[in-house]
Symmetry: none
Subunit: 194 residues, 4 copies
């Protein structure tokens, strides 16, 4: 059967509420128990619904994951693009600090969701056509280097290192005070890019 999510009509408030429940449930299960344990049944349980109800709202398990991933990227973009553009206009150092600050704080604020998306992407990477964070960041760094506001280093390798630290942060956050951790990481890469 066609699921409601395939229709053109806008969703009613009730539909949205139920869908959000399910997305939240999926996030919780993925974060807590991992990808392998995230069966539709398990997600339905967490959403206090039956398996069939979950598949009524999302025609496919994949469709749930799509939405989990999409939701994170949308929120992320919304939170991060503005400040980053502003900082990029001033200096490489400011850009880098902002990039790290917004990314790390976003991750801290959405730890479970970020972990859930990690689980999905680790197992279904090919299915998603996501922007390549390394290339984007590498370009920002190279531009700043050309503008003379950052030192000498290979921007691709540096971008990889920065993304690796950011992507690993969701597993480490909570072990340190957030403000302190963010400050340390900004300091680290500020020194490294001098």
């Amino acid at each position: 059967m066609q699921s409601i999510s395939d229709r053109a009509k806008p969703l009613t408030r009730t539909q949205q509420a139920r869908r959000n429940d399910i997305i939240q449930a999926a996030i919780t299960v993925l974060d807590t128990d991992g990808f392998a344990a995230a069966s539709v049944d398990r997600i339905a349980q967490a959403a206090h619904a039956s398996k069939a109800t979950v598949l009524y709202h999302f025609s496919t398990k994949e469709a749930i994951y799509d939405q989990v991933v999409r939701a994170l990227y949308e929120t992320g973009r919304a939170n991060m693009v503005g400040p980053l553009d502003a900082a990029t206009a001033t200096s490489g150092k400011a850009m880098l600090a902002t990039y790290l600050d917004t990314n790390l704080r976003f991750i801290a604020a959405h730890k479970a969701h970020v972990n859930a998306v990690h689980e999905i992407l680790q197992n279904r990477f090919a299915a998603y056509d996501l922007p390549d964070g390394i290339t984007e960041l590498s370009n920002l760094l190279a531009t700043a280097q050309q503008a003379g506001t950052l030192g000498d280093f290979d921007p691709t390798v540096m971008a990889f290192a920065i993304r690796a630290v950011i992507d690993g942060f969701s597993f480490h956050v909570g072990h340190v005070d957030l403000d302190h951790g963010v400050a340390q990481i900004i300091d680290l890469f500020t020194k490294a890019t001098k």
Copy 2:
């Protein structure tokens, strides 16, 4: 049924060879097709053996993964401990460079195996009681700081960042020239820890 791996008797050379075939097959399948696709059947196929034969040599799928993980850690230790100890005795900078160099080159040299272990740990982390790389490294860094051979930074955060870069390297290796990449990363953290 009891598998041969549970017995007290040492394994014959033939048994060891067969077991190694299976481990290699598991590594290849995990690296190439991912965790979800790594069924016992698929591994058996890759090992040119039957499913039952695989489970004769390893009583459980989990036992295969245990061995895949263990083998990597053992080889890793063997390759890295000596040089690291030597360097640690001289200076923090040398220790750090050696840590990065040995780890990154080891990963480059064992990419498939490392990726296979990534797949396993991402999906079965709780099952393994692995040494915490961050704590170990953090201790090395702190010691060097106390000895005055490294600058001022939070060793835990720095250790986390270094491990994040190392752990992410297996996905990035191949995109850059190895010597160049290793040099850049050593340079990065040398500056960062001044």
Copy 3:
């Protein structure tokens, strides 16, 4: 829940119209996509209504099929009984020609509906208590034989053959010119029953 079709009250014109839409939709889906694809959802879609609406008008999927089958038989009878009775009064040959002519032309004129009923009966035969066409026809043939207007043959076997050709016609109609095909079949059985 009780559906409107179970009530004693006569149906309003609107209700009848809606019911007819649904029957037509069911016919189209069965004819086009076959029995297996004919879900209530699919039928509702084709009727531009919701699944629940369909089941409001017909309490059961089976009830829809009942009506599809019944409608065909009623239309068929209405179209065919008159001419057949008239011809039966004259001669066996005339009766047979009329039987074939009315049946084959009816099928050609209601191909989709006939195919839909085929689909239903092939899959739910036991559920319907339909008049046995072979016995009826066999009696007509036997009577004509006794009246001396048809030759010597086993009327049961002949009736079976005639019904087989008629029942298969809906799959073949369209491959030949209708008038020609009907004439050929009449000729065939006229010769065969001499």
Copy 4:
């Protein structure tokens, strides 16, 4: 998993026996209960095996049906081609009599299997690329007409009629004595093709 039926190796006697059991079970279920009721579970029950065992021997439900269809066509060809070729060489009348005789007796001898294949083809026709009986027969008839051993009629329509009677025979056989029924049908078409 890969099912044994996909392998290149010839099947052992045991495998063949089990596979035959399953095919027989499928035939029985399809013949007795119809296509809709023929779940893998139901077939497994009839074969005194578990559902998983059935899917061990045939990787797919479809693969079972393939084999049911194939087996019938192979047996059919084997039984019918020889006699038909011989008779075709003599006269149209002999050819037609042989065609009917071999087909009808084959159906009578394999009623359940024929009905099972009917069920499959009615519901999965597109999946099979079967020879078109009507065209083949039509050619035989036309050839005989050109040779002057059969009368004047449209061979396509006649072929359709003959196939319709043959294909309907599996539902009628048992209601009449076989020898008598076959004789009557041969007589019918002999007269019709004069």
